[in-house]
Symmetry: C2
Subunit: 387 residues, 2 copies
């Protein structure tokens, strides 16, 4: 069996010759600022709303590649272009970040979603590394501290739940904080970085991980118990597997081999559970008891789920050499490359039905932008090349 | 071609021998009150949460059949059983209705959703006709007046939109008010009934109907203009067609033949637009410009869309005799009966994928209860038998 290193050029070439040029060509809004993200199959704009998640993620992507891969002026210019728009229009009066803006930057949807703040932190943290801008660094810092202050009640007044009846906490925030603490490490007190990492590892691996299932739950009670409810039974395999490469990064940093192997175990257990044996690919949502989930899109195959899985498997193989990682990488790689890329018009489809047929012919939308595809290609390329 | 009357027994038998007995057998919660609605393929309970929409709709269904079809004591008892639970636990302190409760009746989700109030009004309006209860009649009246007071800002503090940037109004409320005003006519001042009907007909047929498209938009600007945004481009064919039989009922009541024919026209235009020529059935959501909709479930085939369409076509044929109504009825009838009913375990599936395969093997859930199937079967039976 050849090593996985032979795949590295495929990831590099797709990143540099297809995906980045697609977004550089079609996404900049040179008239109003920021990026268009609602791009059809050919890259044409079909909606002009600007979603803070996607604006910030694209800033991060180009700034990160500028910092880590090559100091290309066009990449830095494009990152700054989005950051300018975000700085001008992205924040509400209290410093939190809106969810979406009109093309011109007027607020459309209130700052109900703490992940807008998470992605803004990533964006300005990376960009400040490239530019040395104090203002950008301070924006990343202040937003990060707001996230920490808001973390135990992230939805605040926007929550429709009567919290006292069935209090639940969600996996997404501790999962993202694992990654975010490393992303802006250069801007934080080292003690805060370490305590945040400690807490995130505990939350992800002890609180949300259910040893009886061998899987991570998307929602648990405040003391980490399962809840027999739609939310409590929900499994989001892509989320769980994505978190595992964040944990692998932390385990590597701390030279913690048992933690590394546990992250690989959970990756493999989740794959065994969530792989569609009939049509291939990973399901989007499942119910831990096998009941019908609420999400009507549960059986769809999403781009980000597959890219994040490839990262976790590549890292798992690189760091442990376990043959199951190699075998699963081959399987997921084969499914991903034969289903998601669009060889005719470039870039990748995001949404396939269970059979792997294109469900929405878009290259970008409200949730898909310039982030998971380039990040996944970059991460896999780097990891595979190092093997 | 035989008249559609030959189908009447099929609708009657399914209602009386399959669907109603299924809900009578499996849904009552004799320990805690109210109904279980999360029922798996065999009728077994897989979740015990109680959703106000579905509690109220089931009360309405059994009370309506008691009032209009046959004064069966078991139907009245079951309606009362749900109404008792709703009266005990359903309302917040301000009289608005929660969205969901635990099995025991503790509030889970706040009263953000005005349709909980609409279905509670229907439930207590019908039940008061059967029982003569003043308290139930007053509950229907007071809830109806609360809806009217809240109608121009139905989401209130629960809305995440910055309303001043892109104000939009939604089709669902005027559409439901068309039907609700007739449902509780016996409890309202006649002048209020007529003015509500006038306003609803105007909103549905003039404001939300887009003559350039020949279709009804799900959201428009406050002055009835299209908005080139995800919400503004959204089409919900099932909603539009369901509203058309409400309008036909109003047109018949007012002996307004032009209005009747316009409702039939819009039904037929929507069918032409939303029918899946490849796999059959009606799409769930579409974008008026043909762009990708936000809803990942856009191509799924839902039970209620098809039942409401059968009602509109049956009424349209009965009232106008137009042959297109007959032809479309045959086509939708054939698709519906060959895909949704479960001949082995009874009742109907709710959610099919684009190809018409079962997507979720449930008979009831968070949104599917004892309502669209029995109402559709009852309405079609009555209309078809009269032809």
């Amino acid at each position: 069996m050849p090593t996985l290193a032979t795949y590295a050029p495929q990831y590099r070439d797709a990143l540099l010759n297809d995906v980045l040029p697609f977004w550089q060509k079609y996404s900049p809004d040179r008239a109003a600022g920021g990026y268009f993200t609602c791009l059809d199959r050919r890259g044409q704009v079909y909606d002009t709303d600007k979603f803070i998640w996607l604006q910030a993620r694209q800033v991060w992507t180009f700034a990160m590649l500028y910092n880590r891969l090559e100091a290309r002026p066009d990449w830095l210019e494009l990152a700054r272009h989005g950051a300018d728009f975000l700085q001008r229009y992205g924040q509400a009066a209290d410093g939190s970040w809106y969810f979406s803006l009109t093309r011109a930057g007027k607020p459309l949807v209130q700052p109900y979603n703490i992940f807008s703040d998470c992605f803004a932190t990533m964006a300005f943290g990376q960009l400040s590394l490239a530019t040395g801008s104090e203002a950008q660094a301070e924006l990343a810092q202040s937003t990060f501290h707001q996230i920490l202050a808001r973390r135990h009640n992230p939805k605040g007044t926007w929550s429709k739940a009567v919290a006292s009846t069935r209090p639940l906490k969600n996996f997404a925030l501790p999962m993202i904080l694992c990654n975010l603490a490393l992303e802006i490490e250069h801007l934080l007190d080292p003690a805060l970085v370490e305590s945040t990492i400690d807490e995130c590892i505990h939350e992800v691996m002890e609180v949300f991980y259910d040893p009886a299932l061998g899987l991570i739950r998307e929602n648990v009670t405040p003391d980490g118990q399962p809840s027999d409810s739609f939310e409590g039974r929900l499994l989001n395999p892509g989320h769980a597997i994505e978190a595992m490469w964040f944990i692998m990064d932390l385990a590597e940093r701390r030279h913690n081999r048992p933690l590394l192997h546990r992250a690989v175990d959970i990756t493999l257990q989740t794959l065994d559970y969530a792989w569609d044996a009939e049509y291939g690919g990973l399901y989007y949502f499942l119910d831990a008891h096998g009941h019908p989930p609420q999400q009507l899109e549960w059986d769809q195959k999403l781009w980000w789920v597959h890219l994040e899985t490839l990262i976790s498997l590549a890292k798992g193989y690189q760091l442990t050499g376990r043959p199951e990682c190699q075998a699963w990488f081959e399987k997921v790689h084969s499914y991903t490359w034969s289903h998601f890329p669009d060889p005719e018009q470039g870039e990748w489809y995001g949404y396939l039905n269970r059979r792997g047929e294109v469900l929405l012919p878009l290259k970008g939308g409200k949730w898909k932008g310039c982030y998971h595809v380039p990040r996944g290609l970059y991460q896999c390329w780097q990891v595979l090349e190092g093997q």
